[in-house]
Amino acid sequence: MSESDKLTLQNDKFSEVTIERENVLSFPQGLPGFEHLRDYGLVETDEEVPFLRLQSLDEPRLGFVIVNPMLLWPEYNPDIGQEDLQGLGITQTEHLAIYCIVTLSTDPRQVTANLRGPICINTESMQAKQMILVDERYHIKHSIMEASSREA
């Protein structure tokens, strides 16, 4: 891959990241609270497994940590509206990837994942949207430590 296929961004809260163009996601409506920012890079590093980073391309200081919820909550099965999936152009579930945003804390026990607002990605078009579920089984804060000790 040539250098032009990669973007390098400096984020003062995280180490420098390199984003490959094929890992660039577009949120046509942005994220709630960050509606003006549309393009993000998906960054995966070995040290941070199972977490990934969603790094804004427009605002290098802004990034989120995300996780595949199925790794911590294998039974996670959000009821995502058909209209919401159609809006992303998803007609087959094999083109759907789901991640949840992690809220970090200095105390690992206070770290939570937002299972109520999953990020859905159309892996073919790389269009994405944060869904706002009506599904009341899931909440905005689910403890990651609790989930991982249950799994172990």
């Binding site: 409506q29 994220l31 709630p32 609270g33 509606e35 989120f64 945003i101 690992p108 706002i132 172990a152």
Partner: protein, 78 residues
């Protein structure tokens, strides 16, 4: 707050590009159809604010916190 009374099949227009139509009334539920430009995001109201606040908190995270978490999780896994 502007309050308007509408029947099923009737609509309201907001600006020149947004139209909200009352599609169906069923018991305590109302089904709405919304036509708006695709760049306008439309969400169910109650949870939206809480998700927005949580996104703002999540954006405050830093590398040290992520490292600490990864280490603790590795210990749990071992």
């Amino acid at each position: 707050m502007l309050v308007l009374t509408r029947k099923a099949g009737e609509s309201i227009v907001i600006g020149s590009e947004i139209r909200v139509t009352i599609l169906e009334l069923q018991g305590r539920q109302v089904r709405l159809g919304i036509e708006a430009p695709s760049e306008i995001s439309i969400h169910r109201g109650e949870v939206y604010e809480r998700i927005r606040e949580e996104n703002e908190r999540a954006a405050e995270g830093d590398q040290r916190e992520l490292k600490a978490l990864s280490q603790v999780l590795k210990q749990v896994g071992n």
